[in-house]
Symmetry: none
Subunit: 238 residues, 2 copies
Amino acid sequence: MLENLKPVSRVSVSDEIVDQMAGLISAGALKPGDRVPSEKQLCVQFGVGRTSVREALRSLSVMGILKTQRGEGTFVSAERSRYVEKAMQWDVLLDGKAAGHLIETRLMLECETASFAAERASEEDLAAIAAAIADVQNAFSGPALVEPGRYLEADLRFHLAIARATRNPILVSLLGTIRGSMQAWIAKTVPARAAKSIKDHRKILAGLRARNREKARAAMSAHIRSSSSDLRRRLKQT
Amino acid sequence: MLENLKPVSRVSVSDEIVDQMAGLISAGALKPGDRVPSEKQLCVQFGVGRTSVREALRSLSVMGILKTQRGEGTFVSAERSRYVEKAMQWDVLLDGKAAGHLIETRLMLECETASFAAERASEEDLAAIAAAIADVQNAFSGPALVEPGRYLEADLRFHLAIARATRNPILVSLLGTIRGSMQAWIAKTVPARAAKSIKDHRKILAGLRARNREKARAAMSAHIRSSSSDLRRRLKQT
DNA sequence: GGCTGTCAGCTTGTCTGACAAGCTAGTCTA
DNA sequence: TAGACTAGCTTGTCAGACAAGCTGACAGCC
C-alpha cells in the first residue's frame, strides 16, 4: 500500500476566483476604495457563472476584504484587519451561555487593558472616560438610581473608552463583544451595586491619570471581581 | 438638519440565516461534528431559495464554523479553517499596525492563560504539555532543526495545551485564532529562534508544575516578548 | 435659477430549474 | 463471499428571470 499520497487538490471554481482576486489586491492592482468590476463583467472575464462569482465575492466580504453595496457595486474595503476581530467575536459568541468562562475572560482582558491604557491614554481619552463616569452619576438622583438604562449605557461607554485608549482595535472589539453578551445579565444586577461602581470607576480613572499601570490594573481587577461575584450570585439564584 | 438619524437596518436574507444558524450552534443545538440539514431541507425550513441558503453556508464556512464536503453534506467543524491565516497574511502584508495589535493581544492572553493554567492544570494536561515540548525537541537533530513543519506543529500544540488546561473554551479558541493568524508569519522566524524557544518552554512548564501562577506568567511573558521582538524585527525587514 | 419628480440604465439580491460531480448504501452478479 | 453496479442522496455550477436599490439625466414647476 502506497503511503504519503496526498489527496488530489480539487479547488473549486469559486475558491480559485477568491485566490485570484486576493492576489490582485495584495499585489496592489486593486487598492482600498477601488471599485471591483460588476458581477456580470467578472462572469465574462473569468468565464464562469454568476453563482461562482457571487460566492467568491461573498467569501472576500466575510473576510473583510471587500464590501458590497446593493445597487452600487463592490469595493475594496478601506479599513481592513477587521477579519481577525470578527473571527474572535465569533469565538466568544459561539461558546454561548458559559457565563463563568465569559466572566473569566473579561477579568483577564479588562485588567490588562487598563494597564495598557494607563501608559497610552491621551488627554482626550481621559476626558472621555471622565465624561462617562459623570454620565453614570447623572443616572442617579441623590442616592437613588432613576435611570437604569442610562446607567447601563454610560457604564458600557466607560469600559470601552478605556479599551479605546489602548489604541488597539482588536481589544476594543473583543471587549465590546464580551460585554455585549453579558449586558443582559449585568442589567439585572444594576440596582444592587450601582453606587459602588462609581467609586470603583473613580479609582480606575485615578490610576490612569497617574500613568500608573499597576494601580490601574489593581483598581480594575477589584472592580471586575466585585462585579463578577455579584453576577455569579445572581446567576445561581435563577 | 436632523442629526443622529441612524441608517435603516436592512438585513439581507442570507445574513439572517447566518445569524440563526450561528445561534443554533452557540445554543448547543448543533455540536461540532454534527451534520447540518441538507441545503434543500434548509430551503424549506427557512422558506427561501437555495441561493440564499448557499450564501449563508458559504459565509459560515469562511468563518471556519462549518465545513462542507461535496456529495456528503455540511458539518459543524471542530477546528478553525485556514481562511483565517490567509486573510491575516494579506492584512499583515499591507498594514504593519495590524501585526502589532495582534502581538499585543497575544501577549496579554498568553500570560494570563499561563497563570490560570498553573492553578488548574491536571496531570493529563501537564503530560500533554510535556509531550509537546518533547516533540519540539524531536524536530531537531542535535543542534540543527531538521523538520521545521514538525517544529511549528508541536509549538502550536504546546500553546494550545496550556490554553486547554485553563478549562476555558473561550480562551482556547481565542488563542487558536490569534496563533492561526500568525502561523504563516511565525514560520519565517523559526530557524533563528527555535533553540531558544525550547528553553523558554521548559521554564514555563516548570512554573506550571510548581503551581506557581506568578512564575508561569513571568516565564510566558519572557517567552512571548522575546519571540515577538524577533517577529517585529522580521516585519521591518520586509 | 433652484427644486422636485420621473425614468432609463446600471448595480446587487433572490428565486427557480436544470445538470454535473461525488459520496453512500444496498443490490446484484460471478 | 468479493467485487461491480446502480439508485438516491448530497454539494457544485450554470443559466435565466425578476425584485430592489442607486445614479444621473432630463423635464416641469415655483
